[in-house]
């Protein structure tokens, strides 16, 4: 049994939600009969932005509901997409006549459940559009980009989408900007020790002493290879190589950089990683506009991290730079 500071493992999702609501001091409210939260006062005529996915990635998703960020979040059980009725309840709470944009990671479970919800919403006269995030370059070749998983790059897309949804007043326009942010985002993760699912008490995968999984997914799904642990600099070189050549990012590009902690990795390690990422980007003449670093999109207590880049153009930069505020992310 993996040790955890919890009560009954079956209650973790419910109790997590209770704790989050209290920590938000009224800035988010619960949707009745659903494991979903929304902002208490959404301006009439605003396009709604709904994010969501499985629980277990805290503070993603509900930690990013706030001003100039998501309007609502719906969370499933640990590592399981939310069910359609939950998504529909959140959709209804968010719709103010302009429709709702669904924004989530590209997984079979999420895709199917959100699609069913979208069909149900349509029956109730609510228009929705969907952007699936597929930033993980390790999970499929570029030709099959829509087979790729969504990982920490979610953050960039939510940041831009939140600002766009606050400023633009048509679902189509919010969709366009959000899809562009998604298309301009690339990520890759690694892990050296597993997370675990509270209800089973078991690690999501096994990994040997001295081994590292390159391309690790957000739920412990395996990546591109299992290797001997290598020095941070060598690891970072390999990861950034794959990321840079994928979009591709080119000399003269301006990017935002996210180094995301999958759970148990130290900030010291992230900073050491950052050093090498910046050295490589500087050599490639890619200019880093801003850096986010921390535990945003986790996989329980998995030790590992991911690197994400968002390529900016004037429009994306404008939305990225806007102030925002939520439980897990504040920008002045």
């Amino acid at each position: 049994m993996v040790k955890k500071i919890i009560n009954n493992p079956k209650d973790v999702v419910k109790e997590t939600m209770e704790g989050l609501l209290l920590a938000n001091h009224g800035k988010i409210v619960k949707v009745e009969d659903a494991n979903a939260v929304v902002r208490p006062s959404i301006p009439a005529g605003k396009v709604g932005l709904l994010v969501g996915g499985g629980s277990g990635h805290e503070p993603l998703f509900a930690g990013f509901v706030g001003d100039h960020l998501a309007d609502g979040a719906v969370s499933g059980n640990v590592f399981a997409a939310p069910a359609p009725d939950q998504i529909l309840a959140a959709t209804k709470a968010l719709d103010h006549g302009k429709g709702v944009l669904y924004l989530y990671g590209n997984y079979a479970g999420d895709n199917m459940n959100f699609d069913i919800a979208a069909e149900l919403a349509e029956l109730e006269g609510i228009s929705t559009k969907t952007v699936r995030i597929y930033d993980d370059v390790a999970s499929a070749p570029l030709e099959r980009i829509d087979d790729r998983r969504g990982i920490a790059g979610d953050l960039f897309v939510i940041k831009v989408a939140g600002a766009a949804a606050a400023e633009l007043d048509s679902l189509d326009e919010v969709f366009r900007v959000t899809a562009k942010a998604r298309d301009f985002t690339r990520s890759m993760g690694v892990a050296i020790s597993p997370g675990s699912i509270p209800e089973t008490g078991q690690p999501t995968f096994e990994i040997g002493e001295g081994e590292i999984e390159i391309g690790m997914g957000l739920h412990g799904e395996a990546g591109v290879s299992r290797e001997k642990l290598m020095p941070a600099d060598e690891l970072v070189s390999r990861m950034t190589d794959l990321i840079l050549k994928d979009l591709p990012f080119k000399a003269g590009d301006e990017v935002c950089l996210l180094i995301n902690n999958l759970g148990a990795t130290t900030m010291m390690e992230l900073l050491i990683v950052n050093r090498k990422v910046r050295e490589i980007l500087a050599e490639a003449k890619i200019n880093v506009h801003d850096t986010m670093m921390g535990s945003y999109c986790t996989s329980q207590e998995m030790a590992g991290f991911s690197i994400s880049l968002l390529k900016l153009d004037d429009e994306l930069k404008k939305y990225y730079d806007m102030p925002a505020e939520s439980f897990a992310f504040t920008k002045r």
């Binding site: 499985g54 499933g76 059980n77 640990v78 590592f79 399981a80 997409a81 939310p82 069910a83 359609p84 009725d85 939950q86 997984y107 079979a108 479970g109 199917m112 459940n113 699609d115 069913i116 390790a138 999970s139 499929a140 087979d147 998983r149 699912i197 209800e199 089973t200 078991q202 999501t204 995968f205 391309g215 997914g217 739920h219 412990g220 799904e221 395996a222 990546g223 591109v224």
Partner: protein, 212 residues
Amino acid sequence: MTIDSISLSQVKDAFHFIANRMVDSKDMLTQADQAIGDGDHGIGMARGFEAVNNMLEAKTLNNVEDVFFNTGTSLLASIGGASGAIFGSFFMGAGKALQGAEILNAAGYQKALEAGLAMVKKRGNASIGDKTMVDALEPAVDAANQYSGSSLEELAGLVAAASHEGMEKTKTFTAKIGKAKTLGERTLGHADPGAISITLIFEALKEYISSL
């Protein structure tokens, strides 16, 4: 003597029997998903079929369609994830095909399976060889279509056997869909968790009928 059909109350009993089997298989299914997925399939299925057990107690079910369809909606709402949508769609699709039937016979079972498969494919877009529950479901439907003259008991046996065989075959496939797909070659040798589940469901139904 072979059983040609079962009554509404037997169908309810059968679904309890199936649900208990799935709840009892929690650890085994979770381990199967640990090998090639994210290790939650067993807890999802157990949670889903606990909800089915509760629904069977709480809800007025007027016909066999109701039993199948409400099983589907219970799974859909309580599991979430890929399996909630897939297994939920399967039972909802199967239920609709039963159109208010008051008993379950071979013809009904066959129609239900066919419609269930269609719903699963519509929802998930998986084909044979993608290493999903479709690999166990589609051969079962094929078997049912081929042998449509048999009794319910015989058909249930054929369906369970075909599904089992299809499930075993998934060990030779590399995953192309779902959370296991990025594992590629490393999924070889492991059966797909969802394929195991659908086989368990068909086997439990067969056992229930044979025990009558």
